[in-house]
């Protein structure tokens, strides 16, 4: 427990602190970019890009070793990763544009073939460097154990750069993600923005390779935006919420993974992100499951209350259990089902409200069509006093006509 607290408070070593901060920055950038990708329906392209990094990493390692240098130089490996990720992206675009294959087939083909080639290279490297640990496996699922200071610094710096880039490009990306045609009409170069978006995905992938690993990094681009969607209906706020959720997952996951052996960083970050998703799904104020259930329950009771009161007013027998219990709880009927004084008064009020609503529906047909409050709420809480007065005049008129 103490180790856990230490890790969360950045007290388990300078490197671990740098990595946790870097992962938080990475998570926030990934969450924000992921939101744009999600709106632009390109999240799976990111999956192809991330898997396509593997051959680049391996080739960079082999190249460095062939030149007699240290093959584990992180910046060189990441540069290799970026180059082959770029080639993967070009391959997806080329295949979708030039042939009649769909984008899903292109994504799957690039993902599996690049990854397969990477695995071949990886196994060749392993077989050649027997005894010496090349450490390239760490890029598959992320490993922050035994990370060098310079590597941690690179990740923190890369994370900050990605955040800055997202903040700078957020306006055009929002426009393009929502409505590419409108964006192009107001003079935004959609192709350039798309290119920048994919460039950011590539940057995030490359920075995240060492922390999250190439197999799971796409989760950072998918889960936070989907979770953030529960918290708001406004795009700006969804982007910010996704960035916050991603940052929290990155920070906690990276910090926790140093507290015990055999806790892979990438898997922890993704699982924590998934936990935040479940919380959002259940507890978000407007779209969450709990809120929806409560709202539905309230609505049901309101409907039963109205039906019950109208039945009382019409002196009909009430058989429905829920209606009876709603009326009883409010003191509108006694235990044996006979209406109380208050119940009769409320019933008369409900009947008047119902008649007023009948008129209101005729008078304000279009404005009222969409509101779910129609007929349930007391009419003077929805319409103005003048409008209610107008309705009452019509009611009196039709009432006198009925008598005559």
């Amino acid at each position: 427990m103490a180790a856990l607290l230490d890790a969360l408070l950045l007290r388990s070593g300078y490197n671990a602190a740098l990595v946790a901060i870097g992962a938080a920055l990475l998570g926030s950038a990934a969450g924000a970019v992921g939101t744009f990708l999600y709106l632009r329906k390109r999240a799976l392209v990111a999956d192809a890009i991330t898997h396509a990094t593997l051959p680049g990493i391996c080739l960079a390692f082999m190249g460095l070793t062939a030149l007699g240098l240290d093959g584990r130089n992180l910046s060189a490996l990441l540069a290799g990763a970026a180059v082959s990720a770029g080639m993967g992206l070009v391959a997806v675009e080329w295949m979708t544009r030039r042939t009649r294959l769909g984008e899903d087939a292109a994504i799957g083909a690039v993902l599996s073939v690049f990854f397969g080639l990477g695995v071949v290279l990886l196994t060749v490297i392993q077989a050649m460097s027997q005894g010496r640990q090349a450490g390239l496996q760490g890029f598959l699922l992320g490993s922050t154990a035994g990370m060098l200071y310079s590597e941690a610094l690179l990740i923190a710096a890369g994370g900050s750069a990605a955040v800055v880039a997202v903040v700078t490009l957020r306006r055009p990306m929002t426009f393009v993600a929502f409505d590419a045609e409108h964006a192009s009409a107001i003079g935004i170069d959609v192709r350039a923005v798309d290119f920048a978006m994919m460039g950011l995905v590539m940057a995030i992938t490359v920075i995240g390779l060492k922390v999250v690993g190439l197999i799971l990094i796409v989760a950072l681009l998918i889960i936070p935006p989907v979770s953030a969607r529960f918290w708001s209906e406004q795009s700006d706020r969804i982007v910010i919420a996704a960035a916050a959720l991603g940052a929290a997952a990155g920070y906690v996951g990276a910090a926790l993974s140093v507290t015990a052996p055999k806790l892979p960083t990438g898997a922890l970050i993704v699982l924590f992100s998934a936990a935040l998703f479940v919380l959002s799904l259940l507890l978000a104020p407007a779209r969450g499951v709990v809120a929806t259930l409560l709202r539905r329950q309230r609505f049901r009771k309101a409907v039963h209350l109205r039906q019950g009161l109208l039945s009382l007013a019409h002196r009909e027998r009430i058989l429905d259990g829920l209606t009876l219990s709603v009326l009883r709880r409010r003191g509108f009927i006694r235990r044996d089902g006979v209406a109380t004084e208050r119940g009769l008064k409320a019933a008369a009020e409900a009947l008047r409200n119902e008649r007023r609503w009948d008129i209101a529906r005729e008078l304000h047909r279009t404005e009222l069509a969409t509101s779910e409050l129609i007929g349930l709420a007391p009419i003077d809480t929805v319409l103005t006093r003048d409008e209610v007065a107008a309705i009452d005049r019509r009611l009196a008129l039709s009432g006198s006509k009925g008598v005559a």
């Binding site: 294959l101 799957g108 990854f115 695995v119 990886l122 799971l216 796409v218 989907v226 699982l271 998934a274």
Partner: protein
């Protein structure tokens, strides 16, 4: 090319070919139905189930792992449906969340469990270990008719054979309804074809093929073979029957070529090592797909779909 070949290479080669064919057959229809990424999905989801089966039984054995994979596939489908219904989230996003989370859970389980005694790790799940499926009981070609030696065959081989046969049976027996439903679901429904049941059968057979291939040879082959051979075949012809034929040819070439290249290729380049056969099979299928993209006779998107011969047969 004698006893050593039979002992070390024949069985892995056969398993590779059977796995490639079992995945490529349903892959043809998945490709046309725009469900090509289903292999990717299944291989992500199966991991926690396979690890859980290992933790419960304590052994790396076939049937518990298949059951575990099937169980986690059912869990995944339920979770996706729950997220979609409860959260009003699009199916694609719900799938993305579920697959990545389940895979992460599988990785964590795997790292936490004590699997050092047996060969079960993340790398194994990703790219299998085709090379290790050797036939130690074989002494030469004669062993093919020797019951004692045959009994020592790795049980991945008969299992893959059964699954490949199952896939072939599905395609052959349900050919007409499957073809009509794939190209025009509405038309198929008016003919009284049970469209939903057919789609479900296709997905179930794909899942069985994926899980069987996954536990024998790793997930890369599964993802690559579901997509690359059918995609390359689609660029060769307009006829579905010929497409399926081409895809089988491509799958077989990939499996054999990839296996041999992985064994001997690095040596030709001067490396004293061999590469992963599973990875190489995926690579070869990618080379075939690239060639088809460049030179395939029907690669362009110009022909109207309805005039394509074989698109909809005359009733």
């Amino acid at each position: 090319m004698g006893a050593e070949f039979v002992q070390l290479s024949l069985v892995p080669l056969l398993i590779a070919v059977l796995a490639a064919v079992a995945c490529a057959l349903p892959g043809n229809f998945l490709l046309l139905r725009r469900q090509a990424l289903i292999g990717d999905a299944i291989s992500h989801v199966a991991l926690p189930g396979i690890v859980a089966a290992f933790l419960i039984t304590g052994r790396v054995s076939t049937w518990p792992m298949m059951l575990g994979a099937a169980g986690s596939a059912v869990v995944a489908v339920t979770v996706i449906e729950a997220i979609r219904r409860l959260g009003r989230i699009e199916p694609g996003a719900a799938m993305g969340v579920t697959f990545t989370s389940m895979f992460a859970a599988g990785v964590l389980l795997l790292e936490q469990s004590d699997t050092s005694r047996v060969h079960l790790d993340v790398e194994h799940a990703l790219y299998g270990n085709l090379e290790s499926l050797v036939w130690l009981g074989a002494k030469g070609w004669g062993s093919l008719v020797d019951p004692a030696a045959l009994a020592e065959l790795p049980d991945e081989l008969p299992r893959m054979a059964v699954v490949a046969t199952l896939a072939a049976l599905l395609v052959v027996m349900l050919w007409r309804p499957l073809m009509i439903a794939t190209f025009d679901e509405g038309f198929a429904a008016t003919l009284g074809i049970p469209v939903r049941a057919l789609g479900l059968a296709l997905v179930v057979v794909s899942a069985v093929a994926a899980v069987a291939a996954f536990s024998a040879v790793g997930s890369i082959i599964v993802i690559a073979m579901f997509i690359c051979p059918p995609a390359a075949a689609r660029l060769m012809t307009h006829s579905l029957a010929r497409q399926v034929g081409w895809s089988l040819v491509f799958a077989t070439i990939s499996a054999i070529g990839g296996y041999l290249l992985a064994g001997y290729g690095p040596g030709w380049l001067g490396f004293r090592a061999s590469g992963s056969a599973a990875g190489m099979i995926a690579t070869v299928s990618g080379v075939i797909l690239t060639l088809a993209c460049l030179f395939g006779p029907q690669r362009a998107r110009t022909m109207a779909r309805t005039s394509a011969p074989g698109a909809v047969p005359e009733a």
